[in-house]
Amino acid sequence: MFKISATPIDVVGLREALADPGAGACVCFEGWVRNTNEGAAVLALDYEAYEPLAVKEGEQVLAEAREQFELIDAACQHRVGALQLGDCAVWVGVTAAHRDAAFAACRFIIDEIKARLPIWKKEHYADGDSGWVNCAKPGSAAVSGSS
């Protein structure tokens, strides 16, 4: 199940919900707000999503993962709003009988989520500047990258 959340992601509850007697492997990925990006000191982030399509595309990514890998379950939540350093921006959890499938599917899901969902990230820097990650910056030739 994919969800966009305006409140902190309940990583403990989400992991517990994955419990299944047939699962031998559980792989979870979390993306955290970190204090630097491309060499600039970051103070905080704003995440924005177009929720109707982000949810539709997020569910599609999870469905593709279930089709491509031998999974028991797969889930993902993405945060929106104002985030502070250390906050969890995105959580992916996958269970499978064996760890090969769990690792591969977890990686597939986060890669696709980052590439395909209509979600944007505005960074606020220590020098007072700010910028939308991956977007060409008006008044500048630079394009900021993402991790």
Partner: protein, 80 residues
């Protein structure tokens, strides 16, 4: 002429100063409307890096617009 609604997100919304705009234009594709908006508001990222949805469906830039459509212009995404 057709009337469509453009919606702008993230950086585009900031550049436009609004999250939506009504356009009355000759029949055209989503990409052609994007070119008009990009010229008007000086969007720097082109169609290769941006995405478009027509009536909440991700679509190709060559999708012909119809009267009443809502066209969503997505600047480069950065989830995760």
């Amino acid at each position: 002429m057709i009337s469509v609604t453009a919606r702008y997100f993230a950086l585009f919304r900031e550049q436009v100063g609004s999250d939506r705009e009504a356009w009355t234009i000759p029949p055209c594709t989503a990409g052609e409307l994007f070119a008009r908006a990009a010229a008007k508001y000086q969007f720097l990222d082109g169609t290769a890096r941006c995405k478009v949805a027509v009536n909440d469906e991700l679509s190709g830039w060559d999708t012909p617009l119809e009267d009443g459509d809502t066209v969503l212009f997505f600047p480069p995404v950065a989830g995760g």
